[in-house]
């Protein structure tokens, strides 16, 4: 087994950090599910307003998604740009 250099250690830790960063996806997943569930019950109560409910749901889901995307962005930066291993 060869000696592990500093850069390789940083790269390995970056990969672990990227994995930890995408845990942020849990929150938007739950939030989008709740939004979709309430939208479904709203359509059940008032089928006539389906179009308005759908656009409102998509807008809310997209805003909720942003926090998860920040985590994903950090993961992509750590994996492919590797700012720490320079």
């Amino acid at each position: 087994m060869n000696q592990v250099t500093g850069v390789e250690l940083i790269k390995a830790c970056s990969a672990i950090g990227a994995g930890l960063a995408v845990i942020a996806g849990i929150g938007p997943g739950v939030g989008q599910g709740i939004a979709a569930g309430f939208a479904a019950s709203a359509v059940g109560r008032n089928p006539g307003a389906q179009g308005a409910i759908r656009s409102t749901m998509l807008l809310g889901q997209a805003v909720a998604e942003t926090t998860g995307l920040y985590g994903l962005l950090v993961a992509i930066l750590l994996m492919f740009v590797q700012p720490l291993a320079r």
């Binding site: 390789e8 998509l58 997209a62 995307l69 962005l73």
Partner: protein, 241 residues
């Protein structure tokens, strides 16, 4: 240590420089993003010219057919979308801007289908779009609420909250652009990973993923960008609406 080659080293979805030039001693690059943006704008320009020629040949008493009627449906849908979120009174002023960014972002997002790197997967493209929206928001805020209304809006619950309100104002373009950028970039990254790591098995089924990441996700994000732009501008116009 060269024996431990990472499997992901041939994954490539980054921006490439094609041509270098110098401005005032500063080295700048013409990148793949510039090329993609030019191609997208060329497609939109040709489409617009063709539609203009077709429309100018139509006589008013005829029923519109083919491309002309399709474009009429598109314009009607766009008007409906803008009216439903901005109201009848103000929509005329903003429908052209919303239509322009809608067409540009939609075609940019789905340009992955043409084999291009989507221009919106570059933060240098999405941030200016958000900056334009930011300027529109604050221009209309000053125009309709006057300086007094803007200051009252900044000191919303109490004057102590003014710094927090300013920060939340400046967070709008950042979150708006990062949302679009990260969505498109994640799709691009996943497609690049699949093509690089599963290259032997990526025969026909990636088409389904292209459908999801390029068409569905791209259309949703375009819609969301435009809806959020309209929502922010409407709230900047204020109670007068």
């Amino acid at each position: 240590m060269g024996s431990y080659t990472l499997a992901a080293t041939n994954v490539d979805f980054m921006i490439h420089g094609l041509f270098q030039y110098e401005v005032f001693g500063q080295k700048l690059w013409i990148t793949t993003t510039h090329v993609s943006v030019l191609i997208v704008m060329l497609i939109l320009l040709i489409f617009g010219l063709v539609v203009k020629i077709k429309v100018s040949k139509v006589r008013p008493e005829d029923n519109p057919t083919g491309l002309v009627s399709a474009c009429e449906i598109l314009v009607e849908k766009l008007d409906d979308m803008v009216i439903s979120s901005m109201g009848e009174k103000h929509y005329r002023k903003f429908v052209n801007y919303i239509g322009t960014i809608f067409a540009f972002i939609l075609l940019s997002n789905i340009s992955g289908l043409l084999g291009l790197r989507p221009p919106t997967a570059d933060y240098g493209v999405t941030f200016p779009l958000a900056i334009i929206t930011f300027c529109l928001i604050h221009f209309n805020q000053f125009k309709y609420q006057k300086v007094k209304g803007v200051i009252a809006g900044l000191c919303d619950p109490w004057p102590i909250w003014a710094p927090i309100n300013i920060i939340s104002d400046f967070a709008v373009p950042v979150s708006l652009s990062l949302r679009l950028f990260a969505n498109v970039l994640s799709g691009t990254a996943i497609m690049a990973l699949i093509y690089a790591l599963l290259s032997k098995f990526a025969i026909i089924w990636p088409a389904a993923l292209h459908f999801y990441f390029d068409l569905f996700s791209g259309a949703i994000q375009t819609y969301v960008f435009c809806m959020l732009t309209m929502t922010y501008i409407t709230s900047a116009i204020g109670e007068e609406n």
